[in-house]
C-alpha cells in the first residue's frame, strides 16, 4: 500500500480484518478531522489478513485506546514522532467496560432504560464479561457493540 509515511501520530497495526471497522467506531475516528489512512485485507505473514490504521497528529489516551481491546486484543500500537517510532504499546483490556457493549439479555434494565451499560471483565484471557446490572455473563463471541 502506497501511503505517505507518518510524521507524527499513531499507527495501529495487526488489526484483525473483520474487526477493522469496529475499531474505527470505537476510536470514533469519524469525528476526527485529522488525516487518517485506513487499509484492510492486507497480507500478513502472521495473521493471513489484517487491517491497519494511521492517524496523523493524534495520540490516544490509554482509556481511549483500551476500548479496542475487546475486538482487537493483539494490535501493535506505534507512536510516531518525527518519522520515528518512539514508543510501542499493547492494548490492555480494562477491568470495567462502560457504554461500549450491549447486554444480550432483553429483560436487562440497561435495554429498557436510557442509561449507560456497564460490564465487569471477569476473564481477561478468554474475554468474558458480566453485566453489572442483570449479572448475565457474556462470552467473547457473543459480544455486541452498541
Amino acid at each position: 500500500m502506497q501511503v505517505a509515511a507518518l510524521e507524527n501520530g499513531t499507527a495501529i497495526d495487526h488489526i484483525p480484518s473483520d474487526a477493522l471497522f469496529k475499531v474505527v467506531t470505537l476510536l470514533q475516528l469519524q469525528k476526527l478531522n485529522n488525516r487518517i489512512t485506513i487499509g484492510n485485507n492486507l497480507k500478513s505473514g502472521k495473521m493471513g489478513s489484517k487491517g491497519i490504521i494511521k492517524v496523523s497528529d493524534k495520540f490516544f489516551r490509554e482509556d481511549e485506546i483500551n476500548r479496542i481491546a475487546l475486538v482487537a486484543p493483539n494490535v501493535n500500537l506505534n507512536i510516531i514522532r518525527n518519522f520515528e517510532v518512539v514508543e510501542k504499546k499493547k492494548v490492555v483490556l480494562p477491568d470495567e467496560i462502560i457504554e461500549i457493549v450491549r447486554c444480550n439479555n432483553p429483560k436487562c434494565i440497561t435495554n429498557n432504560e436510557p442509561m449507560k451499560t456497564r460490564f465487569h471483565v471477569i476473564d481477561k484471557e478468554m474475554v468474558e464479561l458480566q453485566c453489572h446490572y442483570c449479572e448475565l455473563k457474556i462470552r467473547k463471541e457473543e459480544i455486541e457493540l452498541i
Binding site: C103, K107, I109, N112, E113, M115, C131, Y133, C134, E135
Partner: protein, 305 residues
C-alpha cells in the same frame, strides 16, 4: 461498614448475614416495637407479588412505620412512560427507604445506585431476591442451631430456581454440602457447580428423588417443577410426579431434618407431609417478617435491643 442497600445476597459478607440473623431472632421474640415510628417506607411493586409485599408491609407495620407505594405497575406512572430513574428520584423525596420488586433484571442494582435512600430488592425478574435467602438462612439456623457444615438436599427446578441459586451463594460462607435432585432438563447449571468447586463445596447430583438423597441430610429444600419450563411436554409428563415428597419418604431421615419450601407449593409436597413435625415451610414463611424487620433496621442504622 454496613451496606447501604440490599440488592444481591452476594453483597452481604458472612458477618453481615450473621448480624441480620441475630437481629431477626430478637424480632422473633418481640416483633411489635416502635422502631420505625415517624418513618415512611415505600413498597414499589412494579410486578405483583402479594406474598412478598404483605410480608414486607407487615414487617413495617409491626414496627409502627408508615407505608406508601403501589402493588401493580398499572397504578404507577410507569404506564405513562416514566423512567425507573424518575420514579425512584420522586419516591426518595417522600420515603426513608424503598422496597422494590421489578420484572426487569438489574433494575434493583440500578435503583440502588441512583436512590439517595436505602433500597431493598424484593425481586428483580429472575435475578435476585435476597430477603428470601436470608429468611431461608434464618430458618436453617433456627432449626439446626448452626449454619456450619450442614448437609442440604435441594429438589426440583434447579436450573431456573432463583431461590436455590441464592441459597447456594448464601450458604457458601458456612461449609455446606449439597445433594442436587432434579430432572435432567432442570439440572443445576454448570456455573453453580463451578462455584461449588471453587469454594470447595462438595455436592452430588441425582435425577432420581429417593430416600437415599434425603436420609443423611439436615435440610430438605423443595422447589416447584413448573410445566412451562419444559420444551418437551412429554418430558414434563414423565417427571411431574417424580419430584413429589410423600410423608413415608421421610421415615428414615434424621430426626432433626426440616423440610423447607419458598412457597407457593403446588403438588411437590404432598399434604400428608404437613402434619409431620419435620415440615417447616409455613414457619419459614413467617420468619420472613422478622428477617425483613432486621434488614430494614440494619439499612436505616437503627439499633435493635
Amino acid at each position: 461498614m454496613s451496606p447501604k442497600s440490599l440488592v444481591n445476597i452476594g453483597d452481604y459478607s458472612r458477618e453481615d448475614i450473621l448480624r441480620i440473623l441475630q437481629t431477626a431472632s430478637r424480632f422473633k421474640e418481640n416483633p411489635n416495637r416502635d422502631l420505625l415510628k415517624g418513618r415512611v417506607c415505600a413498597t414499589l411493586f412494579f410486578e405483583p407479588s402479594t406474598r412478598t409485599r404483605l410480608s414486607f408491609e407487615t414487617a413495617v407495620n409491626r414496627l409502627r412505620g408508615r407505608i406508601i407505594g403501589f402493588s401493580d405497575a398499572a397504578t404507577s406512572s410507569s404506564t405513562k412512560g416514566e423512567s425507573l430513574k424518575d420514579t425512584i428520584m420522586m419516591v426518595s423525596n417522600y420515603a426513608d427507604l424503598i422496597i422494590m420488586r421489578h420484572h426487569l433484571e438489574g433494575s434493583a442494582r440500578y435503583a440502588s445506585e441512583i436512590s439517595p435512600v436505602p433500597m431493598i430488592n424484593a425481586g428483580d425478574g429472575s435475578n435476585q431476591h435476597p430477603t428470601q435467602t436470608l429468611l431461608d438462612l434464618f430458618t436453617i439456623y433456627e432449626t439446626q442451631g448452626t449454619l456450619e457444615k450442614l448437609a442440604i438436599t435441594v429438589v426440583g427446578d434447579l436450573k431456573y430456581g432463583r431461590a436455590v441459586h441464592s441459597l447456594i451463594q448464601g450458604l457458601s460462607h458456612f461449609n455446606p454440602s449439597f445433594h442436587f435432585v432434579a430432572p435432567e432438563e432442570l439440572a443445576i447449571p454448570e456455573k453453580y457447580k463451578l462455584f461449588c468447586d471453587r469454594q470447595g463445596i462438595p455436592y452430588r447430583e441425582y435425577t432420581d428423588f429417593s430416600p437415599a438423597a434425603i436420609n443423611g441430610s439436615d435440610i430438605l429444600y423443595m422447589t416447584r417443577v413448573q410445566k412451562e419450563r419444559f420444551t418437551d411436554l412429554m418430558e414434563y409428563e414423565k417427571v411431574k410426579n417424580v419430584y413429589v415428597l410423600h410423608n413415608e419418604m421421610l421415615s428414615d431421615s434424621k430426626e432433626s431434618l426440616r423440610v423447607l419450601h419458598p412457597l407457593p407449593r403446588v403438588k411437590e409436597i404432598n399434604q400428608d407431609v404437613d402434619d409431620n413435625p419435620k415440615a417447616y415451610y409455613f414457619q419459614q414463611a413467617k420468619n420472613g417478617i422478622y428477617v425483613r424487620q432486621a434488614v430494614i433496621c440494619d439499612l436505616l442504622g437503627i439499633e435493635v435491643e
